[in-house]
Structures are given as structure tokens and as C-alpha cells.
Symmetry: C2
Subunit: 272 residues, 2 copies
């Protein structure tokens, strides 16, 4: 069974369209580059029942990792840890290591003159109440620690919703865990822009290139047409051998380019 | 039971982080404004089994609408209709009305000089193969029709992945269906920027405002702090009476502002 990752994003702001889910995009890109496949992204609101249901459903698919974003902060609507505890049938427990991390961050804020003083109010202590058995992960740029929990063969990793905090914790503490599971797999991709051929006329060409290049996945992304048909073709592959991956994609690209030019289409590369 | 909507986005490009899911954001914002709640967004890849599983799971939660994006085009990896048919245990069937829509669009392209000629190739006919009993929805700006299917009390609406096409079909043919179910409900929101108070010190203020204003939902969005703590507070409510909605949010906002200013915080409004 192939190793894969699921992403679960928590936040009403995503469900009312207040913001785009850039966290999911950032994580998906990073995880793909590290060599693992993201199989599903689920977005739910700040609700313990919804979070617990989404996590339980995800656990049933037996991913190597479930990575959540959002809901770790001090306010009443930060409910991710309670949702995870419910899904794992365990209690929330004050974690001394997490509390120490939180305390040290606020002490640093005071030392840097960003706050006058601080107390460990109940709202701050809340961020140290983790599902029993879970471990905090250091947040180098914010107050709420990330959290790591295990369930059968799945590692659950809870990250904050503030993009800079999420990204910093991922790069510092999560990427290495993913790389370990991915092994030497690398993802290689190339994109080209094609003008002058409608997608429905390219469809048989894509079929042919994929038949002749069994390891290469080709996806067409039609762009809104002005007068001239216009689309992006994305060729990608995953392999343990980076050179082989590049060769496979290049071979597919050459075949594709030749056929498109024969049909009168215009091509140029796009940065991925 | 409250009426709600689920959004299911299909596309490998979303799972490799190639693009942000702006379609989900656009739909969520529009649906919220029309008065219905989006309960979940699910993103899966171009795979019949994954699509069918996500749709079946969504149907079990009994939403009023499931809106899908992506996977309606002419290429091999456009698999949404096959996934829906699998989920609904029915066959794909060539739909004459859909085929006529597709034919007319290409005829128009030829008349406008955007194509020299066209034939109804198998890849073009593919876009007219709908789950049995489903109906095509006119696509005013592209070739693949939207699709409408029913299952028990859920309306399934399949939209293309190209944003302009998805938006045009939604505005022309879907918004009215949602408004009908939403009735007179309206969503009202206000956002303010707060500087100078850490989120963990605002948490008890938010608790208080929400206790005193039971219909108003307050959510804090911490921004990455420079030296000064900095966050956004978002107050919202849904009501059948637009005036009442505005009054309720305004009352919450006034109470919130007074307390924040007493604590030395600085406030300014943000456009939503």
C-alpha cells in the first residue's frame, strides 16, 4: 500500500470564503516535493464534532500522516486539540513541556519589550492541554506549540493556522519526518503553455503520450480562451532516481511538443 | 435540521499544490452571502474511486447541495461524471440536450473564426455522457456543460474547474436554486484590525462579547506579529431580518471596541 498524507484544515473563515486555503496549497506543494502523495484535503469549521468526524474518517483510510492546520490558539473557538482527543477517545491533559514552551515564549516577548508583563491565564494554559500521550512541537515564531500524536500507523501533526507559524514548524520539525517515510522518492514536473489547439483536439495527443510514457502523468489545464484556444500542459512523475524522473518527463515532453507543432500549435515553457 | 452545502473539488493540481483552491473560496463566499452554510470542503484527485467515495460520504451527511468543481472536460483525466455515476449506482448515458449544447458551442466558435471546422470526436461526445437521469446546465462561456443530478433530498451540481466557466454557470443557473432553499436568510459581517493586545489577552473579551451577544459569532485571526501584537476580529451573524442582523453585529462591535480601547488597543475597520 502506497504511503500518503491527508491534510485537514480547521477554520470557519475557510468555509465562509473569507480567505483562500493557502495553507493547504503550501503544504501540498512541500509534501509532494518531499516525495509523498497528498490524497485528500478536508476543510471543516471550528466545531469539535466536525473535527472529530473528519479525523476519524481520515484515520480509516490509514494515511502515514494527517496534518491539520488551525485551531491551536487561546480563544474559545480553537478546538482542534479537543476534536483530536475526541477522535482518539482520549482526554486532554495539561502537558508540562508544552506549558514550558508557552511560558518561555511570553518571557521572551517581555524581555524584547513586546509585552509589559504576562501571566499564565487560563486562555494561555489552554494551549498546553494536549490529547493524552501527545507531544508538543516547538513553534519558533509564535506562542501555540505544534502537536504530535500517534494512532496505529498514522502520525497526526497539528499545526497552527497562521501561515508563517505553520511553515516554520513544518520546515523545522515535520519535513524530516516526511522525508524519512518518503525515502528517496522525488517528484519532477514540467509545464508548457499551448496556444492554437482546443483542449478537445489535444485530448487524443495526451492519451497517446501517456500510453507511450507509462510513468508520466499529463494533465491539461484549459485557460479561459480569448479568441485563440489556450491551455497549460503539466507533465510529472515520481521516482527514486532523480535523473530517471527528469529523463522520463523530458521524453514525454519532446513527443508532446512534436505532435503539437505538427498540428500548428504554439508552445512555450512555464515556470512551475 | 439546518440546510447546508458541501463543496467537493476534483483535481490532482490541487493535491500537488500547483494552484490554490480559489474555486472553493469563491463558492463558499457566494453561498454564505446567499444565506446557506458551507459545512465541508473536500478535495480529491482525478480518480473515479476517490470521487465516488467522497460523494457517497457527503451524501450520508444529507446536505441540501453538493457542488463539485473540475473534471468535466474532454481529456482522459476528467472523471467527475464517472465518479458521480459510481456513487449514485447508475450508468453514464449520452444526453441529447448536452450534446446539442456542445455542438452549438463549437458551431459558434467556427462562426466566430476561433476554429476552422470541428467534428464531434469521441472526446467531445464524452462531455455529453451524464449520469442517467441527470440534466445538463448551459455553460455560457465554455464547452463543457454543468450537470445537475438528484439523490434523495440532495441536489448534486457539477461545475467545470475553469474559474470563469464555474462562476458564470453558478451565477446564471445555480444561485437561484440556493436562494430558494435559503429563503430570506442573510449573512452580515464586520471586520476590525486590533493592534497592541495579544490574542491571549483578547480571548476573555471575546468570550464576554459572545456571551452578551448570543447571535453574534466572533472569530480572531492573529496576524504574524512584528513588534506589536496584531490581529483581525471578525463579527458575523445570519438572520432573516437584514436590519436585525446589522444591529446585532453593531451592538457586539461597540461593546468589543469599548473594551479594547480601555485596554489600550488600537482599532481600525477592515473591508470584508
Amino acid at each position: 500500500m502506497e504511503n500518503f498524507v491527508e491534510i485537514v484544515c480547521v477554520g470557519n473563515e475557510l468555509l465562509i470564503g473569507k480567505i483562500a486555503n493557502t495553507n493547504a496549497q503550501w503544504l501540498a506543494k512541500r509534501i509532494t516535493t518531499l516525495g509523498l502523495k497528498v490524497r485528500r484535503v478536508t476543510v471543516i469549521g471550528d466545531d469539535v464534532g466536525e473535527i472529530a468526524a473528519a479525523i476519524r474518517e481520515s484515520l480509516e483510510r490509514k494515511p502515514s500522516f494527517i496534518i491539520t492546520t488551525g485551531g491551536l490558539g487561546p480563544t474559545f473557538d480553537d478546538k482542534t486539540l479537543e476534536g483530536i482527543a475526541t477522535a482518539l477517545n482520549c482526554e486532554l491533559e495539561q502537558n508540562d513541556e508544552a506549558l514550558k514552551m508557552i511560558e518561555e515564549t511570553y518571557q521572551r516577548y517581555v524581555a524584547e519589550g513586546r509585552m509589559e508583563k504576562f501571566e499564565l491565564s487560563p486562555h494561555r494554559v489552554k494551549m498546553a492541554k494536549l490529547p493524552k500521550g501527545a507531544k508538543p512541537i516547538c513553534n519558533p515564531v509564535g506562542t501555540a506549540p505544534g502537536v504530535l500524536a500517534e494512532h496505529e500507523e498514522t502520525l497526526l501533526i497539528m499545526l497552527p493556522g497562521v501561515p508563517q507559524e505553520m511553515e516554520a514548524i513544518f520546515d523545522e520539525s515535520v519535513a524530516s519526518l516526511i522525508r524519512e517515510v518518503a525515502g528517496d522518492l522525488t517528484f519532477y514536473e514540467v509545464s508548457i503553455e499551448v496556444r492554437g489547439i482546443p483542449e478537445s483536439d489535444l485530448a487524443p495527443v495526451i492519451d497517446e503520450v501517456m500510453r507511450d510514457n507509462p510513468y508520466v502523468y499529463v494533465k491539461s489545464h484549459p485557460k479561459m480562451s480569448e479568441k485563440v484556444p489556450h491551455l497549460e500542459l503539466h507533465l510529472s512523475t515520481t521516482s527514486e532516481d532523480a535523473n530517471l524522473a527528469r529523463q522520463r518527463v523530458s521524453r514525454g515532453l519532446i513527443q508532446m511538443s512534436e505532435t503539437i507543432q505538427k498540428k500548428g500549435g504554439k508552445i512555450k515553457p512555464i515556470e512551475t
